[in-house]
């Protein structure tokens, strides 16, 4: 063998050894947590960054120092990116045959529920908590129903929010509108939007009345609040099983909504923005937006004293559609990793995380509303809402809503989200008729549903 060949052989050998070492590293990684000495380690995959991340770390630290220390449990929070990234990684583990690689707890939003709800290693939260003697009636009913599948609460509502109307009180005053009387219906919102338009010398609009293009998020409320309670799809928005088709086309709810929405567009005060809507609002370029209650903390901070912020119930689609809004956001899901003692440890942590006191801290730190009814009785909570009356509006709206109004669990959730947005914008900007829009939306979304059902019989 000449020198060059030896050299290459050595490089190859080193490469092989490196590969083998990496392999053993991966293989060893999964066994690591099974080693039974020291505290039981509970892995929690979450998607909380920024203010939320800080609140998460505080919560975990408090648990580890109190209950955790007593019961020899250590919770390890692992930030996995956005909610969708948590799901992508979870899906990969679910497809492998290695349950020990699962997290003990994963925080998911509505788009992830389809994946986990029938997964055999998911421990339904209701079962987990009831076995430990936890009383589920202390939970906010709307929040509990938002993660209920076939009458079982499968996850623990945790970062719960609803949609809310945000408006610029100073702009209202300028336009001669009463800042304490926000619009009650979409039709009224159209009148307000028209009055709120500000044009520059060239006639270009500098401030719009309202901005946004409705997606599944807004429609769960605007469709859901009609006729008592309505749903976008059959199976009660997928909470009773796999949806087989949309129903908004048959029961006329979408037509009602689009008719009202068209009025808003015809007022000239609607901007079809899909990107940085809250930033535009904070910059004063838009006078009203509909967004999650969880934006309240951030919006208050970014507006500063530029203008006075007002919040109100989401306007009703029409007079009388008063069932309110659904609970959105995320929930905690527990998984059986096949490790001893983990189930009890997970229960202990979740019980701690949704206790009245911790939910208060979580609410104050993040703006998500407390999911424990006990929080509302705390003196500290009352003092906090008195200082920050805007938070009270969000909570009142939740309590005035029918808990049966539900978010939608639908396959290809992202595509459906954009389908609504594109369909509605198409109707507004390209003058498509309302019945045609309803039909096209139904056809497109039904295709996603039937594709899914064909794949997952």
């Amino acid at each position: 063998m000449n020198h060059a060949t030896k050299c290459i052989a050595r490089i190859c050998l080193t490469g092989c050894i490196a590969l083998a070492a990496m392999w053993s590293l991966f293989a060893g990684g999964s066994k690591e947590s099974a080693i039974k000495n020291g505290p039981t380690e509970i892995i929690w995959w979450h998607s909380n960054s920024g203010l939320l991340g800080q609140a998460t770390d505080t919560l975990v630290q408090e648990f580890n120092e109190t209950v955790g220390a007593e019961r020899n449990i250590k919770v390890v929070p692992v930030f996995q990116g956005k909610a969708a990234d948590v799901l992508t990684k979870l899906r990969a583990v679910m497809q492998s045959k290695n349950p020990a690689d699962l997290p003990d707890i994963a925080q998911l939003d509505a788009t992830g529920i389809i994946d986990v709800r029938s997964y055999e290693r998911m421990i339904p939260m209701e079962v987990l908590m009831s076995e430990a003697g936890y009383d589920l009636s202390q939970l906010e009913p709307g929040a509990a129903l938002s993660v209920t599948y076939k009458d079982t609460m499968i996850g623990m509502p945790f970062n719960s929010s609803t949609i809310l109307l945000y408006y610029n009180k100073d702009a209202f005053r300028q336009a001669g509108l009463d800042p304490d009387r926000p619009p009650k219906t979409i039709e009224q919102m159209a009148e307000y939007a028209k009055a709120l338009i500000v044009r520059n010398a060239q006639g270009k609009i500098e401030r719009y009345g309202f901005a946004g293009v409705p997606t599944s998020y807004e429609l769960c409320a605007w469709i859901g609040q009609q006729h008592g309670v309505s749903y976008l799809t059959d199976m009660r928005n997928g909470h009773d099983g796999d949806p087989t088709k949309v129903v908004f086309d048959e029961d006329g709810t979408m037509e009602v909504f689009l008719t009202e929405w068209k009025k808003l567009w015809d007022s000239g005060g609607l901007a079809n923005l899909t990107s940085s809507v809250t930033q535009e609002f904070a910059a004063g370029k838009v006078a009203m937006i509909a967004a999650s209650t969880s934006n309240l903390t951030t919006l208050l901070a970014s507006i500063g004293d530029r203008f006075e912020l007002g919040v109100a119930y989401l306007p009703m689609v029409v007079e009388g559609a008063d069932s309110g809004v659904n609970v959105g956001g995320g929930a905690l899901f527990a998984f059986d990793r096949g490790l001893q003692g983990h189930k009890e440890a997970v229960e202990a942590f979740i019980e701690f995380a949704v206790s009245a006191e911790q939910q208060l801290a979580w609410h104050v730190g993040t703006g998500y509303f407390p999911v424990n009814l006990g929080t509302y009785e705390l003196e500290e909570f009352k003092a906090h809402t008195e200082r920050n009356p805007l938070f009270q509006v969000a909570i009142d709206q939740l309590h005035d809503s029918d808990p049966r109004v539900q978010g939608v669990w639908i396959p290809s959730g992202y595509q459906v989200y954009y389908a609504f947005q594109n369909g509605i914008r198409d109707m507004l900007e390209n003058n498509k008729s309302i019945p045609q829009t309803v039909q096209d939306l139904a056809t497109e979304i039904n295709k996603y549903i039937s594709d899914y059902n064909r794949m997952n019989r």
Partner: protein, 298 residues
Amino acid sequence: MQSTPHRTIVSRHRRLSRIAPYLYFLPALALAVTFSLWPFFKTVVNSLSIVNLSGRIVEFVGLDNFRELSASGNFRDSLRNTFRFTAMFVPANILACLGAALLCYRKRRGTAFNELLFLLPMAVALSSAALIFKAMFNPTIGIVNWILGIDVDWFNDPAMAMFTLVALGVWLDIGLDFVLLLAALRNVPTQLVEAAAMEGANAWRKFFSIQLPMISPTLLFVVCTNVKDAMLISAPVMILTEGGPYRSTQTLVYQMYLEGFKSGNYTLGSTIGVVVFLLSVVMLLLLFRFEKRGVYYA
């Protein structure tokens, strides 16, 4: 008899040197099989089947998936967007890189500094660059509108959103392509250029008659990699526009990501993957055809 041990050594030596090449080949092959060939094969099989949420094949359906895909408006949007991006990105990128290389190829004072500036984008991670562009093009607080004194809503206007993607793409690619073209330009024999200059050729004439043909092999390589990059663009879309507004920047690979990874629709994801592969191969083959006529090898 005495020569036996020697002979064994020799024959062992020979045997080893015969197997050796295959051994060297093995690590590369293992990596290729694990990370490219097997996934590729699996994608093709999946595209001909119905795959469930757990990634298992439920049914073999032949070309049904492709038929359904061609009827989908969503897919046609992605296809149109991908071609639109390629048609804008490739010429813009070639012009920018070639322009930069032409500015720098003659060694003068300050050239090294200029080179460094053009190389700098290579040192910036894609996601950081995308986030910076997102801030720069922000309609209200972004520097682009401020400097140009305009009020363009970059990410809410379909035409403008595509433009920001192209701008980001060019900026990200400029480093490597610039180096390649710069090296090629410097390899053009000076006597040819000087001779042409003495014959009275102006700068254009020198460029089109001497430099361009001389760098054409490198240029072909750059165009090919650009076309491939453009056809496969997804990461900048993911960070900068998320396919919006109204799917106007949803490219094929981004749709594949949405369907396959975000929605767990492996059937559709794999089918789109195969289509992207075929389209890219066809485009590259067309470019190679051009090689025979348009590329000059000295």
